[in-house]
């Protein structure tokens, strides 16, 4: 007798649990246009805004005079765990006849970057920053190597020093 009761109560409870589950999916089906969470990605490209902290790529901000803050000290290159940064510096003789190291090219290989942020954190002159760009797909690998400093850019001269 108990077996029979168990048989029917088990069946009944089972059916109730199934109906409950169908309630959840059914509810979402009938409220679907409101509850859809998918972002329409390529369409919303214009309005899509990443968070400020978003780690898209390493960039070197330039001001309006095409000047950056990088002193070519190599600390980012040393701190990079993957060797994705290569700082090429050149020696420039300034007006006073002193030799001075200046940034020539700041190569950054995004294909090898693991976005750990150590270059940006350790930079003593805050020359690097995170960019918000996230569409990095390229057809060839050598396009991953970017030069961060603009053509003909110069180091910002600190005011009040001279």
């Amino acid at each position: 007798m108990r077996g029979l009761i168990n048989y029917f109560s088990g069946m009944f409870n089972g059916i109730i649990s199934l109906v409950k589950g169908m309630g959840v999916t059914g509810k979402y089906f009938f409220t679907s246009p409101v509850t859809i969470v998918t972002q329409q990605y390529p369409e919303n490209r214009k309005t899509l805004e990443m968070f400020d902290a978003f780690k898209g790529e390493v960039t070197m901000p330039h001001n309006e005079n095409n000047e950056h803050k990088c002193t070519a000290c190599n600390i980012c290159q040393i701190n990079c765990p993957n060797g994705s940064i290569e700082v090429v510096s050149k020696d420039v003789v300034n007006e006073e006849g002193k030799k001075k190291k200046e940034l020539d090219k700041h190569h950054y290989n995004i294909g090898m970057c693991s976005f750990c942020g150590l270059c940006i954190k350790t930079c003593p002159s805050n020359a690097l920053a995170w960019g918000q760009e996230f569409e990095h797909a390229m057809f060839t690998r050598n396009k991953f190597v970017k030069t961060l400093n603009n053509e003909g850019s110069k180091l910002i001269q600190k005011k009040g020093v001279e």
């Binding site: 509850t35 859809i36 998918t38």
Partner: protein, 362 residues
């Protein structure tokens, strides 16, 4: 000739007569066969494509997604694009596969669903053939598909496929019983196996209402067993994507895979049509005895719309099953059939017979 969307009998008769006037009876038969074949083929492809699209949209909405929305407005041409892709894909030949069986298997599956569609009444006077043993024929024919699945699993020389096929065999053999018995319950109620008669008998109330509790039980059992028979989730053990990768059609590609895919959706359509025909009155409008005005309004809706609407609702329920429940394990599947559905079904048949004997069913 008068064309009437409420009754296709005169239309089909007109075609028959005008053909008879033009040629000999033998050629008339050939021509009619060809017309019906083309019509069903077109309908088949259309419904198949639409169902695939519908399923993707329905499941997307259940899952808070958008679903296909790239090809055409709301992605309505997505399935056509998919079909084109599948047509163009390479047919991969499997080393050491049984070539003949491997090639035949998809055709068996798709032919079985073709055969079943012939007996379904879409509207008054609109069916290919009106057997006097319609239900028997449908049950017999729709279970042929499993042969294709078994052959597919066996011939593709893949271990996953074989397990899938064997599961499918055990599953169909068991659930065929439940489908048959729940339909027999309704046959007892209607007193006929002819589908057109069954539909006509529901003019004053669908069987699910007039058949009292046994009809409801039979309907529930039929829904479960039919879902199992179409190899759809939660009974998709033969495919069992997370266990057997794709089960019996693991090794199929291109249009052969498309055949399996299409056949699955058409089987769903067929079992839903049968459920609609036998339990919900097929193309018969919803009538409440005594409410003349209401009945007249209902009669204005064409039978074909009624039929499609009912089928769609049942298909939606089956989709709801698939997208809500986890998959059953093979022993649970057999337990469900042999320990629950079959005894209840047998009891239900007796109950129905009793009700009919006592004359309580009208």
């Amino acid at each position: 000739m008068e064309f009437n969307i409420y009754d296709f009998t005169s239309f089909t008769k007109w075609i028959d007569e005008s053909l008879n006037a033009a040629m000999s009876p033998f050629w008339v038969m050939i021509t009619e066969m060809a017309i019906i074949g083309v019509a069903i083929l077109a309908f088949y492809a259309l419904v198949g494509l639409f169902l695939v699209y519908a399923e993707r949209k329905v499941c997307a909405f259940m899952q808070n997604r958008v679903g296909p929305n790239r090809v055409g407005p709301f992605g309505i041409f997505q399935t056509i694009a998919d079909l084109l892709k599948l047509l163009m894909k390479e047919l991969v030949y499997i080393k050491n596969a049984d070539k003949l069986l491997f090639n035949i298997a998809p055709f068996i599956v798709i032919t079985a669903s073709f055969l079943a569609i012939a007996a379904i009444p879409f509207a008054k006077g609109l069916h290919a053939i009106d057997f006097n043993i319609g239900i028997f024929y449908v049950v017999a024919v729709s279970s042929l598909g499993v042969i294709g699945i078994l052959l597919a699993g066996w011939s593709s020389n893949s271990k996953y496929s074989l397990i899938g096929a064997m599961r499918s065999g055990a599953q169909i053999v068991s659930y065929e019983l439940s489908v048959g018995l729940s339909l027999i319950t309704m046959v007892i109620l209607s007193g006929s196996m002819q589908l057109s008669t069954i539909v006509e008998a529901q003019a004053n109330g669908w069987f699910i209402f007039t058949g009292h509790i046994p009809a409801i039980i039979a309907f529930v059992i039929y829904m479960i067993a039919a879902t199992a028979e179409t190899n759809r989730g939660p009974f998709d053990l033969a495919e069992a994507e997370s266990e057997l990768t794709a089960g019996f059609h693991t090794e199929y590609s291109g249009i052969r895979f498309a055949f399996f895919f299409l056949a699955e959706y058409m089987n769903m359509f067929i079992v839903a049509s049968i459920a609609a025909t036998i339990f919900w009155g097929g193309w018969m409008p919803f009538h409440v005895p005594g409410w003349e005005g209401f009945n007249t309004v209902m009669d204005y809706i064409p039978p074909f719309i009624w039929y499609i609407g009912k089928t769609a609702v049942i298909i939606f329920i089956m989709m709801l099953f698939k997208w809500t429940f986890p998959r059953l394990r093979i022993d649970q599947l057999l337990t469900l059939e042999w320990k629950y559905l079959l005894p209840i079904n047998l009891f239900n048949v007796v109950l129905m017979a009793f009700i009919v004997l006592m004359g309580w069913h009208w």
